[in-house]
Subunit: 124 residues, 2 copies
């Protein structure tokens, strides 16, 4: 299944930036794009994941799966984020065994949200 990795590009991660200086969120997004998304992972930038006190942050989601938000990230974490996203995409149900998750996913979870019920009205 193709999953979505949302990357907050507006995050300042508590830093004061100079004129025209890229935000830490934009730098994280650039590092992820540069590293290259693995098969089954669609990288999408987003303006604010409302986790500003715990930025930089990313979110993993896909239809019918638990969604996950991770924080306290920076551009050096791009490879681990992509490895974790690839494992999420490859897991049949999106639930990656705990020990196979990158350390940042084990220790820097901000939240997870159960699969969103496909209500009858949503199928209209």
């Amino acid at each position: 299944m193709t999953v979505t990795l949302h990357v907050c590009i507006t995050c300042r991660a508590g830093q004061t930036l100079g004129d025209g200086e890229a935000t830490p969120g934009a730098r994280l997004h650039a590092a992820i794009v540069k590293a290259g998304a693995p098969t089954g992972v669609d990288v999408v930038s987003v303006e604010c994941l409302s986790a500003c006190n715990q930025g930089c942050s990313v979110a993993l989601s896909a239809p019918g799966r638990w969604s996950y938000v991770y924080g306290r990230l920076s551009e050096v974490d791009a490879p681990a984020i992509l490895a974790g996203a690839a494992a999420y995409a490859a897991a049949a149900d999106g639930i990656v065994p705990w020990r196979r998750r990158p350390e940042i996913f084990r220790k820097q979870s901000l939240a997870r949200i159960p699969p969103i019920a496909a209500l009858p009205e949503a199928a209209e």
Copy 2:
């Protein structure tokens, strides 16, 4: 649209509990159920929203809408949580104007996640 309010019932909110003592999460869930879900809000308990450092926590979600996670809550917040959930359910697109959100939703956001794309394969 019917939306889902997930309430983490396993959250200890940093407290040490005695034998048989209800968790703060279970007490929050009970307070929400006792207050009564407003029209269009389905209250669902969940074991862990992975926001343990910021508990108690709840999540609001619905098909095609942004999902929201809020934290640092307790049972006294039940009425405000339900008012916020009702506003989310009533908003045509799930986006409640900032000033109409309860203060706990404005100040205690843990994260939000963009609507999950309905990929073609998900419609199979």
